[in-house]
Symmetry: C2
Subunit: 345 residues, 2 copies
């Protein structure tokens, strides 16, 4: 009998509620001979206020031993902006070398897009997860004075770009349309941009069947709203990926449905799955949060761990649930129950 | 009698065609006692191929003496990405200290938005124009090898941020809703982001009537498509402003209508007005380009030079033209003729 050792980091705000439903569905879909062992870690705003810690070294070391991590949401207005994001969420992504930040953008049947005409949307953004402007390589001089200067350095390596670009080509190759779009801003950020473009062209030699395309990030946002059906696989840097995937969530019916995987394909470190949405403190604890994004992240987790059939079952359950939504408000746990019911049925 | 000394840089692709219509409308709207003196400068891809020059020092020195610059579009696929953008367009913006990059986002009556429900959209983005990731402060090591490392440095100064933030507050103060939103990513780009947030709060003390708001850039893109009516004035950095204003153009009916002003409020250097769209080489020379964005940029130019009544006339002409568009295709010059006719009527 197999075992999945899962670390669970509910985090802040609605994180707790949505993660509970994700685990409910995960438990329901797993075959009887698979044992699910979960260990919950109390990280986030509460821990920070209690101990001043964001991600202690011993916790980081423990987390390393798990098969995967399920994360709810990080962030609270009571903590200065950046402390938990950099000290916990990004620390995990960087420490575990999550260089593939995978974010599907799919408009499910029955879900209303804010776009007129309800276009067909089914793409995936492969966002680089360990480089670019996210490296935390910045500083400030004469801080707090009228003469302050602050810098942020975007670091980009051929090594780091090549691995994410190759991953994106492989995904494009495996999809029916076989189309890959590079998004950057190589007419302004010429050094980073030309490196991305060079590697994109070089790796493309290995994938003659994949059609390629380049868009500046500003132009890409236009197509996200005027012609989202043109996209199949998109590969882009950490910051552009952050921006584009929120926009993708918006046009596919909202951040309540957007799933993500922070993936280390080598398996050297556990991959981490999390909804794209934040901790939404305004609705926390009220049972109002939609757990669907977390459940779809659980599907990505299953896929990553080799449970493709179970992943498909979860996705199908979500698709069916979305198609049949009547508009009547359901609580977080009612949605979770419905989805758990569908996958175990 | 007064004189406007205008430098005209048609640039590449459709630049020539749309600028001709902009000048047509400008000529038609100016009072009889105002003399318009235009000097055309041949800059862009043709010049670059002929001489290797993008913006020679003597041209830059000459341009300095004008009251304003009207620019069409820069960029051509025959020139490596970045050469004209950095060597001409951004060089002008930086050399003339165009720190206020003003970009209205307005959905005119009769114009179709790709957003369902045709929301009311009327905001203005005040994009910083001389700092941030656009400074060109980057480089690469082991260029062209598998060990290449490329950097891009975002430079941000209290001085540079304060002047654009104060300008944005003034604009918010002068508008009926008096609302100002700061957009950045201060939970990740903590040094630059905290500097922006600090200055934003400090300058806000001078404007007690202005309601303020902060959004991370990723969240801002969501609201641009789900709730664009929430925005009044937005202030943001150079790169985020680039991205958000293309998205703004998309949701307000397309890049064919989006105007911009690169403004140096001190008057030390000429300000420059240009449509947000690019050179669109695929339709260049065919009379298909919509000159409306250029004509609206001319309205901003008039406003900047103190011709407020004429600016309003041009805007009203555009609004009337848009409201009465039947869908029948008109050529670039037909649109220009129609607008010139309206303003001189
Ligand atoms: C919370 C924040 C650090 C994070 C990011 O910027 O990556 C979030 O926006 C996301 O997209 O997962
Ligand atoms: C052409 C390019 C350099 C420019 C920019 O990035 O500012 C354009 O996108 C714009 O928005 O005016």
């Amino acid at each position: 009998s197999r075992t999945i050792r899962l670390a669970v980091v509910p985090g802040d705000g609605i994180g707790q509620e949505v993660v509970a439903e994700g685990l409910k569905v995960l438990g329901a879909v797993l075959p009887a001979d698979v044992k699910l062992e979960t260990t919950e870690y109390d990280l986030g705003a509460r821990r920070y206020h209690r101990t001043g810690e964001t991600l202690p070294d011993n916790v980081l070391a423990e987390l390393k031993a798990f098969d995967a991590i399920l994360l709810g949401a990080i962030g609270d207005p009571s903590v200065p902006s950046g402390v938990l994001e950099r000290g916990l969420l990004l620390k995990l992504r960087f420490a575990f070398d999550h260089h593939i930040n995978l974010r599907p953008g799919r408009l499910f049947p029955g879900v209303e897009s804010p776009l007129a005409g309800q276009p067909e949307i089914d793409f995936v953004v492969v966002r680089e997860g360990t480089e670019g402007p996210y490296v935390g390589n910045g500083g400030s001089l004469r801080t707090g004075t009228p003469h302050e200067v602050a810098t942020e350095v975007s670091l980009n390596t051929a090594y780091g770009i090549e691995r994410v670009v190759r991953d994106a080509y492989r995904r494009a190759q495996a999809r029916p349309r076989k189309k890959l779009t590079l998004v950057h801003k190589n007419n302004v950020l010429v050094h980073a941009g030309h490196l991305w473009s060079r590697i994109f062209a070089e790796v493309g030699q290995e994938f003659p069947e994949v059609t390629t395309d380049y868009l500046h990030v500003d132009a890409a946002t236009i197509f996200f709203v005027t012609q989202p059906e043109r996209f199949d696989v998109i590969v882009t840097d950490n910051l552009f990926g952050d921006i584009l995937t929120d926009l993708a969530a918006a046009v596919t019916g909202g951040i309540g449905l957007a799933a993500s995987g922070n993936i280390n394909p080598s398996g050297e470190f556990p991959s981490m799955f999390e909804p794209v949405h934040g901790s939404a403190p305004d609705i926390a604890g009220q049972g109002k949060a939609d757990p669907t994004a977390t459940v779809l992240s659980v599907a990505m987790l299953l896929e990553h761990l080799g449970y493709a059939a179970e992943a498909a079952k979860v996705e199908a359950a979500v698709a069916a649930d979305l198609a049949e939504r009547t508009g009547a408000a359901r609580s977080t746990s009612q949605v979770g129950d419905a989805l758990a019911g569908r996958v175990s049925g």
